[in-house]
């Protein structure tokens, strides 16, 4: 097990290296630059800014320089927000996104698992069709529709909470619902499918023959196997949720990481782009590793291979 984890960690090094390289050259291939939008700047000013950030050096030298900084864990300065480093921006905005993501994840897991379990246990009844119809809607309605819809109902008409902002605990409700809805729907469908698959296995019949009650069959015999698809999905899902959503953060005015990720690309904020790509990639890799460990723990057949 330790060897497995250690090997997977070693494998992430080349992945991140290749990703950084590809990202670097793709950014530089894109037309424009970080200061292209500052129209008033004279040639001299532009040249001095380039020199300040090292953009006047040959490309390959810049590449080596950036790689050296990255190796030291220094993501570099932000070109768009002078006097702030990318490390500082991520350190400040990530906790906000992570909190929102965590709350959305709880929403997604609670709603999704309950709906999925009900649907699987009561297959082809109202308790299957109704939650699964809702899940279909959840999958189809994009967040930029879901957000304003929730705002207009719960903030404007019912006046239960604020339309935007990130100050009070109840400000968390609508963003978490908006962000979590899609994931809840997805989890519901995966949980239903996984459970149905397990519930028709022979060993469930064995458990019935032993006199096990419905709760025991579900929680002791079916849940482990039935949750495998959900757990596999949770790896990338958690990474996506915790690193922030541009749309949800914009709709609700939340100072999270998602907005920085997207605006960095528009601004050609080279270090910010690199920082966000690597941060997100590292997150996905770590979450997938965690998921693989959980899957091995859940499935004893994998444990001995």
């Amino acid at each position: 097990m330790i060897r497995f984890v250690a090997r997977r960690f070693l494998e992430t090094i080349p992945v991140l290296f290749i990703l950084a390289t590809v990202t670097f050259f793709m950014m530089r291939l894109a037309p424009g630059g970080p200061f292209a939008s500052e129209k008033q700047a004279s040639k001299e000013v532009r040249a001095r800014m380039d020199a300040h950030y090292g953009l006047d050096k040959p490309l390959f030298q810049q590449y080596l320089l950036q790689m050296r900084h990255l190796l030291q864990g220094d993501l570099g300065p932000s070109f768009k927000y002078p006097s702030r480093t990318v490390n500082e921006i991520i350190a400040q905005a990530f906790p906000v996104s992570a909190e929102l993501g965590l709350e959305a994840l709880i929403v997604a897991l609670v709603l999704g698992l309950m709906a999925g379990m009900a649907a699987a246990l009561k297959q082809n009844t109202f308790w299957d069709h109704f939650p699964m119809s809702l899940a279909m809607i959840g999958l189809c309605v994009p967040t930029f529709v879901m957000g304003p819809l929730l705002i207009s109902v719960f903030a404007l008409h019912l006046d239960w909470c604020n339309a935007a902002g990130w100050f009070l605990p109840r400000d968390r409700v609508l963003p978490a619902l908006t962000l979590g809805a899609f994931y809840a729907a997805y989890i519901a469908r995966l949980a239903r499918g996984g459970l149905l698959e397990v519930l028709r296995q022979d060993f469930i019949r064995t458990a019935r023959a032993k006199g096990a009650g419905a709760a025991r069959i579900l929680f002791r015999h079916a849940l482990r196997g039935g949750m495998l698809p959900v757990v596999s999905f949770l790896g990338p899902a958690i990474a996506g949720l915790l690193t922030g959503s541009f749309v949800v953060e914009t709709i609700f005015g939340i100072p999270g990481l998602g907005r920085y990720f997207v605006t960095a690309a528009f601004n050609r904020d080279y270090c910010m782009i690199m920082g966000s790509v690597l941060f997100y990639a590292a997150f996905v890799i770590v979450m997938n590793l965690v998921v693989d460990i959980v899957l091995v723990w859940l499935n004893p057949k994998l444990r001995f291979e």
């Binding site: 022979d202 019935r208 006199g211 009650g213 015999h221």
Partner: protein, 326 residues
């Protein structure tokens, strides 16, 4: 009073193509400690009969149209699942055809083995664990304390079936239903498992309902045998009577089909034709189209097993009316 008395059981499956009459008016009894074999080809209704007793029939599409299964004075078919759970796994246990898929791959053998004790006898874990160890030793699993910690995929097929037997017998049930327990195993292991079941029966004294399509297995194991065909009972008798004083042409044809009893080098005897389509049941005897003794009224009159000799039932109309010698 017999331990289990199944009366006029009728089961059908409601499929898109129509209603399949899987079991029609099946009746039989098992006394305490008795071993009854049910023999029949695939689709003859033998497994469905037993699944319905255990409440394991998938409903829908399955439907119990009528009849009773009275176990120790209680009709199991009339019980709710909750009520049934007081019997299955405690007083009636079951082992299945495929030991590779019948054990939960996600749980340790120990968890599965002690589950009936935890459910039914409210036993604490250490005590249940001791019983599980005893049972594993009794079914011939060596190195049992180590094996308890293992998972099903670390066991061979024969070992898994031993575990299934240990699990079914751990509560010392009055009745063990074995649904083709040796079919999925290779031949040497088959003999071992049958010997084990015999040994356990001698030790615990439970009744056994053994389902098989192998006449040889049944003849060496059971006190009485019931032959099923197309969802009906064709013949039932004490084992020796069934083989040496056969009272149904179908049973006779089955015996003639046993390869080991036929002259070597000749083409093997088979019963001509195919089993009837249960979607469109024929009038009269279901075996009539394939029967060598068929006469005109076979395809007209309703068949039902009658006692044609002491403790010997046959559903053959000619045997019933004319004492047809077979």
């Amino acid at each position: 009073m017999p331990l289990l008395s199944v009366n006029q059981l009728r089961i059908s499956f409601h499929t898109r193509a129509g209603v399949v009459r899987a079991v029609q008016d099946v009746s039989f009894q098992i006394e305490r400690g008795e071993a009854l074999g049910i023999v029949g080809e695939s689709g003859s209704g033998k497994s469905v009969t037993c699944y319905s007793i255990m409440g394991l029939l998938p409903q829908p599409p399955g439907r119990i149209e009528g009849g009773q299964a009275v176990f120790d004075g209680v009709d199991l078919l009339a019980l709710s699942h909750r009520g049934l759970n007081k019997y299955r796994g405690l007083r009636v246990s079951m082992i299945f055809q495929d030991p590779m898929t019948s054990l939960n791959p996600y749980l340790r053998i120990e968890e599965q083995l002690i589950e009936p004790l935890l459910i039914h006898e409210k036993m604490d874990r250490p005590a249940a664990r001791r019983r599980a160890l005893e049972m594993l030793v009794a079914v011939g699993v060596t190195d049992s304390s180590h094996r308890l910690r293992m998972y099903p995929h670390q066991f061979s097929g024969g070992m898994r079936q031993r575990v299934m037997i240990a699990m079914a017998l751990i509560t010392k049930p009055d009745l063990l239903i074995a649904d083709e327990p040796t079919t999925a195993l290779d031949v040497t292991v088959q003999a071992q498992i049958l010997d084990l079941m015999k040994k356990m029966r001698e030790e615990l004294g439970m009744a056994i309902l053994l389902i098989s399509h192998d006449l040889g297995v049944v003849s060496g194991f059971c006190d009485r045998v019931m032959v099923m065909y197309a969802g009906r009972v064709m013949e039932s008798a004490r084992t020796a009577d069934l083989f040496y004083d056969t009272k149904h042409p179908y049973t006779r044809a089955l015996q003639k089909s046993i390869p080991a009893l036929q002259v070597k080098g000749q083409e093997l005897y088979t019963i001509a034709g195919a089993p009837p389509d249960l979607l469109h049941p024929l009038a009269g005897c279901p075996f009539a189209p394939r029967c060598g003794y068929v006469v005109d009224y076979c395809a007209r009159e309703e068949v039902a097993p009658l006692e044609v000799a002491p403790a010997h039932g046959s559903a053959c109309l000619r045997v019933q009316k004319e004492k047809l010698p077979l």
